[in-house]
Amino acid sequence: MKTNLIILAIVVVAIIGVGAYIAMTSTSPQTTQFRVAAIYVTPIEETWNQVLHQALLRAKTELGISYNYSERVSESQVENVMRQYINSGFNMIITDSWGFWEAADRLAPQFPNVYFAQGSGLNVNFGKNLALFDYYIQEAAFEAGAIAAKITNTSKLGIVTAYSGVGDVNNLLNGFIAGAKHVNPNINVTISYIQSWYDPGAAKVAASALIASGVDVIYSERYGVFEACKEGSNVVALAFGNIVDQNSLAPDVVVGSVTWDLYPMVKTMILGAKNNNFTSGIYYTTMANNGSKFIWNPAFQAKYPAVYNYSLALEAQIKAGNITWVVGNATVPLSVPKFDNP
């Protein structure tokens, strides 16, 4: 009993000491600076997080904001972390995980002077201060699908992805398939689900299976496909990267990457908030606003000049809103996402 009390006393004193040290040494920020906090559910190395992290680092240098972040915050902790940031005077809270959407929906009306941006979710309480964004990069996926259909020799394309029935992932798959069918309506696209968000070993097996069945171009929605596309030094299939520019990961395999750039959106949000004309609601990252981009691997751009030129023309068509698809019962531009199963 006595030992327990002594240990308890030591722990309490240590906690108070550390707390006091932090309170004394932390500098209060300049009041003029716009303060943004991002909250991530996984380590920032994760690709989704990298997209926002890089955008905010750029905003820090180009827009002069201050940027803090918390990573590996679980759904059960997120509200406390958000409140901590709000209480210490942050102007904008970006919660970057599907599981955080309810907390954002709940807190936004309670703190009308703070701006909230939620990465994917079912938010409805947009009010004047809540924005919703997601990786709406189906336009770039469409371009990749069209390029794939142009360069395949077998007319068989493959996709390696995580789970079936995930709306925002479906949107990318739908984009890729629609792009392929735009070039060749009879093309065959096989989807392989690896039942995991991150398992390159499984993705590699899935890609090998696709290649064995005659597929020669694969959209690598998940990591692990590129390694299956080479047998020793022989390239047996080509691939497309996803979310971030993965062209350098396997330069002789990756034709190009379907990428997401959040800087234009982050800039719009921050400038809007600073000038008191923040727009709430859904933010679409489109080719027209540079949020959705297809990035060619220079080696393949040089190898397929005709396809490259075709892709530029296609981009112009997409940006002009001339490429449409059917979502629900309506024919809409490709910039509107399509969440149903492919």
Partner: protein
């Protein structure tokens, strides 16, 4: 009509998918035969994967990566060994603590080694090495003799470990410790030393199992790379009844159903395919449970498994 090439490909991939499970479950079989339940195997694989990647990345040599993976595996399992053998902590709690520690440590050192936003990867991987002569045999050559070094080591280790466990005096000593360390100690067997040796061997296998994920299967490191393969290996040991041949059977079963669940999409088209694929990935766990229910009454593991041993 399913093409022959697809089936051959599926079977070859089965071996490749099974190889990390086989190596890890062989290592765990040895440890558990000596009465040590190492649930920290998931973390030891992660450290193996991380140290293998670091070694290969900074030296540019996959051989170095192979060696550093093994060293990482040994050190992690030895740390676990010190906790449960020297300090006599609870094996289950220590194993889980090792897993948490491994995730934290690997991410910490990953950030020290690589600047953020920089995505490090290896330019080359340990590829399949066809065995001259044998790899040319139709069908069997492609399945068995055109594999990575990890598959060969795993397959050859099965009879070797069986021999060590059941035909050598070391194996007899280890198994008697697993049954009752007090009696074994009373008979003059050095329990601590024998258990440490078994853990070093486990570390070698688990380090390889982790390393192959980052230097053969995939070319970069992420803290999620092991994807519960360590825990699967523990259940394979139970399914395989603490026998290397059983570990091979269990690994092949898991490897095959996993490979099949990933290949099903190429055979099967339609709205049911994703659900069937999900069902298949569950199958080995169902088989493990069934095997325990059906055969579990007759089979029991080493009697002292998981219980601490402190000399009076």
């Amino acid at each position: 009509m399913i093409e022959m090439a697809l089936v051959v490909g599926l079977l070859a991939i089965t071996l490749r998918t099974a190889s990390p499970l086989l190596l890890a479950s062989l290592g765990e079989t040895i440890a558990e035969r000596g009465g040590i339940l190492n649930l920290g195997i998931e973390g030891a694989m992660l450290i193996g994967a991380f140290s293998g990647f670091l070694g290969a990345y900074f030296t540019g040599s996959l051989v170095v990566g192979f060696i550093t993976a093994i060293i990482g595996g040994i050190l992690t399992v030895l740390l676990f060994g010190i906790l449960v053998i020297k300090v006599n902590l609870d094996q289950v709690v220590s194993g889980l603590a090792i897993n948490l520690l491994a995730t934290g440590l690997s991410l910490y050192f990953f950030r020290i080694a690589f600047s953020q936003g920089n995505f490090p990867y290896l330019g080359q991987l340990i590829d399949p090495m066809p065995i001259p002569g044998l790899s040319g045999i139709p069908i069997i050559g492609d399945i068995l003799f055109n594999q990575t070094i990890f598959v060969y080591i795993g397959l050859l280790s099965v009879p070797l470990i069986y021999w060590i466990l059941f035909k050598t005096s070391f194996g007899l000593r280890l198994r008697s410790i697993g049954e009752d360390p007090f009696v074994a100690s009373y008979l003059g067997i050095n329990v601590e030393r024998t258990r440490f040796i078994s853990l070093i061997v486990e570390g070698i296998f688990v380090g390889m199992a982790g390393g192959l994920l980052t230097i053969s299967m995939f070319n970069t490191f992420d803290t999620r790379i092991v994807a519960a393969r360590g825990f699967v290996a523990v259940s394979i040991v139970i399914l395989g009844r603490w026998n290397p041949w059983g570990a091979l059977t269990g690994s092949l079963l898991f490897g095959f159903t996993q490979a099949l669940s990933l290949w099903i999409g190429t055979f099967l088209v339609g709205p049911a395919a994703p659900s069937i694929s999900q069902l298949l990935s569950l199958l080995p766990y169902v088989v493990t449970l069934l095997a325990l229910v059906v055969g579990g009454r007759k089979v029991r593991g080493p009697a002292s498994l998981g219980s601490p041993f402190a000399k009076e």
